[in-house]
Amino acid sequence: MKYIDEYRDKQLVLNIAENIKKISKKEIALMEVCGGHTMSIYKFGLPSLLPKTVKLISGPGCPVCVTSTKFVDQAIAYSKLPEVIIATFGDLIRVPGSNSSLVKEKANGADIRLVFSPLEALEIAKENTDKKVVFLGIGFETTAPTSAATIIDAYKQGVKNFYVLSSHKVMPPAMSALIDEGVTLNGYICPGHVSTITGSEIYEPIAKKYKLGCVISGFEPADMMQSIYMLVKQFESGEPKVEIEYKRAVKPEGNLKAKKMLDEVFELRDDWWRGLGILPKSGLGIRDKYREYDAEKMLVVDVPEPVEPKGCSCGEVLKGIKEPKECKLFAKVCTPEHPVGACMVSSEGACAARYKYDK
């Protein structure tokens, strides 16, 4: 596969591994924020190529994993309404809510459809005018612009039966919160796809305030290894800064058109993150102009306070304080077949990735 295999070249990857070994003297802990990075690290077996000095910690960048139980409960409540069709990304349907999950509701007869894009959900709405279609909007700056674009489309086309339940979030507040909470890190492997939208500037305050290296990485093994090399080099020389490894996709200013759309539809609000609690200005709520597409405002359901699973260490895992293996439920009570916490649900979740590739 062109444009992929070049970045999976064995010799290239082994050379970078060799270079990392050469320069890495001090112990260094790096967090990959993005779930896609976690997957790539384990899928290609990269830890087996790194020296003992380099430790990788999985961060809170899997959208499914940081989504609150309350959001899932609310989606389940919608799915029980006879006039509602739920449209959702696949990962979300197995996430446990307080008492059920979407996959269980689907088995009970709820109309739940898997989509790859909110635009598909809008099509479903147009084909089913007697129904109300609720799209479950999760994800960071990567997926939020497509939700925004779809809402704008719905607005222009005058669609009246399409709604978004937004749990969209932005990344930097979580990255700051982790350090404020006392998680010890020496650098961030910054998310590649998020940064194609946001650009690299959003990480500048983190690099400055916390003196942490931030390298925006691509997803292929050579990208990941090169980013680790850059972070080790910064750390050894004591010069933390923001750098872009993923130059073929990320520009410092980001994608201006997508950013404009985000701003048109969404506004920052305080939001709840699994494991981190409420973080100020970390979530994306739908602006009043588009309130007729806001499920929260237009379809009011009564959702009791959520029941969080007992003994689940998702929060600590997301903060990088605990390794999945250190959670007492890991691989015993909590497995991909019967996930207790969200980190075990998405293939990108730290626990699921570890369970699958490194149990």
Partner: protein
């Protein structure tokens, strides 16, 4: 036939049932045993040991690039027999059809079954048809059961008794094609591909291997759950270590591309014409050469071996030189979101 659609009466045992049997099933399956239409088929076998298997087919969509539910129902059962080392001889087939199903499509499916049965040298000797009310089944479900005879020297293949350190693992060609071709046809995934299912009867290829080697230790068709699942089960059940080399596993570029895009690991994607063979190292080259002569084995490759380390686990050496564990799949692979 005057009707164009299956009616409940076609399953009632009355006149319409008889009409359907003679104008569709007997017409295509034509063989002397079936023609008798006795309650049980009376079959001759030349062995005191038989292999006996059954499987049900509920694939959706029923027609997919490279095959259909009928072809699949024959290949699948033929392969289940063949991988145990048996020679498949007779098949039964049971149809559960949804009221309103098109008779033209049924005819196509039955004709495809007949063609594949002929191709693989088995006879469909008995069958049954039930029609259920609209909504009680999704178009058509087929069950086939099969009987084969098995040579004494092959009876240990099914339970992998002889597998030992140093044995090689061979596959007969590129993986993940069935799963991806069917996926591309599903309504929810609207992408177009030119990928055909690998759906095929493997009994002839397997017979060739068994003729030239008595070092075949284990065989399994890598259907649902893919190659990974077959090997994980083997490693776990037999407490063996298995080492795979990712860069030796055959896969077509377009299949890899789609898996990459959807976040699927092709090792777990279904095949319908792929057999995993564990063979004594001394015979590996000879068998590989023989397999490559067969149209269904042209791209055969050695993809790994049985090792002393990590008993019970499958470890993959990745394309970039790292290593990772290959574990059993939990639930269906779901598309990734970003």
């Amino acid at each position: 036939m005057t009707n164009k659609q299956i009616l409940l009466d076609h399953g009632s045992g009355g006149k319409l049932s008889h009409e359907l049997i003679s104008s569709v099933f007997v017409k295509h399956f034509a063989n002397n045993t079936l023609k008798e239409l006795t309650d049980s088929a009376l079959c001759k076998v030349s062995s005191d040991q038989i292999a006996f298997t059954t499987d049900s087919y509920v694939v959706q969509p029923i027609f997919f690039p490279g095959g259909d539910i009928g072809k699949l129902a024959v290949c699948g059962t033929v392969n289940d027999l063949a991988v145990t080392g048996a020679t498949p001889l007779y098949l039964s087939c049971g149809f559960i059809i949804e009221e309103g199903f098109s008779i033209e499509e049924l005819d196509k499916i039955v004709s495809s079954m007949a063609k594949e049965a002929k191709n693989s040298g088995v006879q469909i000797v008995t069958g049954d048809t039930k029609v259920v009310e609209r909504g009680a089944a999704d178009k058509i479900f087929i069950n086939t059961a099969g009987i084969g005879i098995i040579d004494k020297k092959n009876v240990e293949i099914a339970n992998a008794k002889g597998v030992q350190t140093g044995d090689k693992i061979i596959i007969n060609g590129p993986i993940a094609e069935h799963g991806v071709s069917v996926l591309g046809k599903r309504n929810e995934l609207d992408f177009k591909t030119d990928i055909n299912s690998d759906c095929a009867s493997l009994n002839e290829l397997i017979a060739k291997v068994l003729r030239i080697s008595d070092k075949v230790k284990f065989m399994r068709d890598a259907t649902r759950g893919g190659v990974a699942t077959v090997l994980c089960e083997l490693a776990e059940n037999k407490k063996l270590g298995i080492k795979l080399d990712e860069d030796t596993i055959p896969i077509k570029e377009n299949v890899r591309g789609i898996c990459e895009m959807l976040g699927f690991d092709p090792l777990y994607v279904a095949n319908e014409g792929k057999v995993v063979i564990v063979i004594g190292a001394e015979d590996a080259e000879k068998v590989l050469k023989e397999m490559k002569k067969d149209p269904l084995g042209k791209e055969s490759a050695v993809i790994g071996e049985i090792v002393q380390d990590h008993a019970g686990k499958v470890v993959l050496n990745t394309v970039v030189g790292g290593s990772r564990i290959v574990d059993m799949l939990s639930g269906a692979q779901l598309p990734r979101i970003c």
